[in-house]
Structures are given as structure tokens and as C-alpha cells.
Symmetry: C2
Subunit: 354 residues, 2 copies
Amino acid sequence: MYGLIMAGGSGTRLWPHSRSGRPKQFLRLSGEQTMLQETARRVLPLISYERLLVVTGPGYADLVREQLPELPAENIIVEPSGRGTAPAVGLGALHVRRRDPDGVMAVLSADHSVERPDLFCRQLAVGETMARQGYLVTLGITPAAPATGYGYIEGGELIYTADDERVFRVRRFVEKPDLQRAQEYLAAGGFFWNAGMFVWSAESILCELARFEPLLAQGLALINCHLHTPRAAEVIERVWPEIPNVAIDTAVMERTSHAVVIPSDIGWSDVGDWAALSQLLPQDDNGNTVVGSCVQIDTRNSLIYGNGRVVATIGVEDLVIVDTHDVLLICPRERIQDVKTMVAEIRKRHAALA
Amino acid sequence: MYGLIMAGGSGTRLWPHSRSGRPKQFLRLSGEQTMLQETARRVLPLISYERLLVVTGPGYADLVREQLPELPAENIIVEPSGRGTAPAVGLGALHVRRRDPDGVMAVLSADHSVERPDLFCRQLAVGETMARQGYLVTLGITPAAPATGYGYIEGGELIYTADDERVFRVRRFVEKPDLQRAQEYLAAGGFFWNAGMFVWSAESILCELARFEPLLAQGLALINCHLHTPRAAEVIERVWPEIPNVAIDTAVMERTSHAVVIPSDIGWSDVGDWAALSQLLPQDDNGNTVVGSCVQIDTRNSLIYGNGRVVATIGVEDLVIVDTHDVLLICPRERIQDVKTMVAEIRKRHAALA
């Protein structure tokens, strides 16, 4: 099996620790390794570096090389600009199919966290089995709460069981719901979070793209003709701005009849904001998550993400404090979603810090 | 008139901006100049540098020299250790009397702020007139609120009027009151905050010290015998640890019958904590006091005292944020008095940062 790590994102929700020049996937957040490194090592039992491809933007290729020195140079695929996940997946699929016409690929996000990598690998292996039969496989995360921040996948008919893993047809993909609907999904069961993790053969996904996104498929075909030729870079630069900007979910998964879902309870997190990160890190007796050096007096339920400097807190509750060498963020937990607004503001007034 | 600036304090209440190695008087807080420099320049219309003496500790003499280069070297008086204000005042008085047996001195704190320096100088001049008649003069601050953090002076008989200034006999000095009593003082009128600002002749204060603190006076007499001799340093080092550690208020002012008070409405502040400092600095429309660079979203009634780094605040209210190069303090306004506790904690765990 091949792996395609999607490492082009430039998310802002962990600002100021993450910056446009070094987004989340290139940061050490909870461990010794960066999220990209963790993503690669997590699937190493299944996918060697030779078969691991990374799609990223031109500004990040050096970071990928630096953080994954084991990766062969030709496995770094640079897309000229971010045009949604469908073009990135399609480009990756061209590379996989060129190496192995029957190649199966797992699509992985570079900036997600997984607590149970063994289970994750077992499920990817089941996914590979299904993908070789032509299915488009998605891992659907067993919901732990009525989250409104993710799309949901509704499972249908059970079509396969292997060991403890079950595979269901996908009944439908559902957009991010409101709270009431999310609560209904949780109560009903059979609904899973769409975490954007897929397994399919390169041929299958390219066929479905051709069917549902013919303009995108034409662009990819043109790129494919010149892949690994001296004109490759020139062609992709010309084609890329013209192709549709679309997510693989919308382009294919919501439309295809071949989608299946493997319910997945792997301790997944997209580490989507500071509150999510604080749940991944150990807490002290007062409910505080502390990275770095902190002296506390009456401090509770706060995230203190330091950067060398000593953080001294008195009477602080439910606060997020993120210290970096050039920016300091202070925000109550309940306002953490407004970090995006702050980054927009910072972009206007201190562009170098965004 | 001579001036004696008391610059030996090592207060902790503006930590982490102030440190034991560089306490408040040596910091720029609200202006271009440090508080020591402001103190000296404030009285310059009355007291030239030649007649200005500074008492400080051995660790701070270099800072005084650096910040007041106009001061003659012999005007820096180093006390071997802090033993309360009475010994420091006595030591200063020895120097003044040596230069001028009839010398009058104004005793000034190096770390207080005064909004109306012209009025302040006029009142010091009235004080000088009274001091030449043998009175021990104190400027009593007209209370703006029922503060419980200061001692109070109760005025008695009106004994002198000059221009708009009035001078009263002191009926009594009162210890820091509780809130109810402070409210009574404010309602009654005729009570003033004891700000530790005095004017007296060197001879008068040395006489009163001899009367009320004979042990201290003996020590001072010994030092006086060797003042400006080669043995001066050795004698003061030997005498100093043995003399009583006592404040001039307790030693003299609460006991003498020669005390008078000039009611003083000079916009005085001892800048005793971060809340006090924020009242001295301009506020924006949201009630925030910002020093340095700050990007705010929904931020109110907060003090953001920066240090180069951009401080980004979202949904922050009534918070004090003090950023320095090696420590960051976060504390609600209402807990600001606990900074002292924090400093004690820091002293244990990160002594270099205290």
C-alpha cells in the first residue's frame, strides 16, 4: 500500500504557535516529533518511506525534506497552490498509478493525532482489502460527543467483517450539523465523523474524478502526460490555476455509490484549536495543562503553553495563554474560536506575525 | 534647601517589571525618565544637584550614578543595609549638617509620582520656612478615597498661612485604618495620607532622634566622628548592623510635639501596585491601559504592560498582563495585591527572576 500525506494546509487556529510559514503539521505539539513526523511513523508498519508520498505547497517543501529526511526526494509532490483536496488527491493518485497501476493508497492528514496507532494500522489494512475490490473506503470516527465542527457519515448495510472490524456501505455524507441534529446522530448511532481519511486504489479515485469532475480530470490528464518529463513543472504551473477548487468529499464521496465506511475508534483528534490540544496533553490536579515553566497561584482549568519564559499566574481560570518569542495570546477558553478573527486582524496590522 | 532622596527600597509590588536588582525607582514607568530621575528633576527649581543627596543600598549605587550623572559623587550616600527610614534619614542629616549647620532638608521618596510639581515645590518652600523655625514639617496628602493602605495624619490648630498654603499642628499620626475608619476620616475632613515626605532642619531631626532613639543617635554620633575620614567606611560597616531598625514615623513623628502638616493636593501616588500604575497612564475607550503593542478583540478594563512582543487579547476583562523578557505575569485586577505572594514563590523556585 502507498500513503499520501496531505501536508499543504496553512491553518490558523493554533496561532500564534502555528504561523503561515510554519503551520501545525510542522510543529511539535504534544511530543518529541512534529505532527508530520508522527503521521509518517504511525503508518510505518504498513507503508515504508519508499511508498509514502507527501503533497504540500511550494513554501513547505523544504520543511518536509528537513522533517522527513528518510523520504526519497521524488516522493515530495509540490502543488503550485492550494486548490482543495480533490486536485491534491488526484495529483497524488497520478504518481501512485505511474508506479503501480493497481496501487492502493491511504490518504492521511499531516496534522491529526491518533491515540491508538496499532488499531489505526489494522483498519487501514482492512481498508486496503476493500480498496482492492474497488471500494472507496473512509475511516469514520465513532463520535464521542455531539460535535458540530465535523461532517458526519451515515453507515448503511454491513458488507464485510474481518476480525473485530466491520465495513458498512455509506448511506450518505452529512454536512456539519447544528447541535440538535448532532445530538440526534449521537443518540441514533450509526453516524461517524468524517475525518478525511480514505483508502482507495489510484485507478478507482481517478475514475470517479473523471466521472464527477471532468474538468479536473482533464487537467490531471494533461499533467499526467508530462509527469517526470522536463516540462512537468511548466505544465503543472499552467494547468493548476485553471482546475476546479474542490474538496474530495464534495467532488466524489458525496456522489459515488462505491463508498464504504469502517467505524473507527482510534482516539482521533484534528487538534483543531487550543482547547482540543489541551485535551491531548496531561492535566495537573487543578485542571491546568502546562507546557513549559509556570508558577501558579489559584489557577484552574487553563492552558498555559509557554516558550521558555516563566509564566506566573494568579487567580486565573478557564484561560488560554500562549507565549511565543514575538507574540503573546490571552483568550478565555470559550472564546477560542475567535483566534481566527484575531489572525485576520494580525494579518492587517502585523503581517509578519500571522 | 537640601534634598535627601530615599532610594534604597526594593519593593516587589511591580514585579516582574521591577526586580530586586532593579527596583521601581530605577524604572521608566510612565514616562521617558526613571522615577528617580523624575524625583530629582521635580525639585530642581528648589534644589540643585549640588544640594541633592541620595541614600541607597550598596547594590544600587551604580544605578544612581548612571541615572543621575549630574549628581556629585560625594552626594551618593551608601547605607550598608536597609535598617528602616530613621537611620537613613539620620545619616543624610549628618551629611547636610556637616555642609551647613543650619541646613534644611526635604526628605523625598525616589519612587513616588506627583502630577503637580509646581504646587509641590511651592509647598516644599513653605515647609522650608516652617523648618527654619524648628518645626518638623510633613506634607499630608488630601485623601481622594478611603484608602486603607496608608497611615493618616490628623491636623490640629492652624498656625500659619502663606499664599494658598496652610500649615496645621499635627494632632496625631494614625496607623493604617480599616475601611470603616478610613471612611470616617474622609467624611470628617482634616485627615491626610502620610506619604513620608518631610521638611526639617538637619539639626532638628538629629535632636529629636537623640531624644527618642538614643541608641540610634549614639551610632550616628560615632559615624559622624569619622565622616569623610579614611576610616568612614569601616566605621559605618561596624555600626550599622547594631543600630535600631526603625521608621522615622515611629521613631520621631508619632512622638514629637513639633510636627506640623501642610495639606497637599499635588496628585500624589506611591505607584504601589499595578492597579495604581494603570491609573497614572492614559486609558483607551475600552478602559484599557496599554504600554507597547497590543491587538485587542473585546478587551476591557485591563492593563497590558508589554515589552516589545505583540500582545493579542480576546475577550479579556479586568486583567493585568505584564510581559518582560523572561517572565510573564497574568493576574486579575482584584488579585493584584497577591503579586507579593507570587514574588515569594518565585524567590523559592526561580530566585534569579525575583
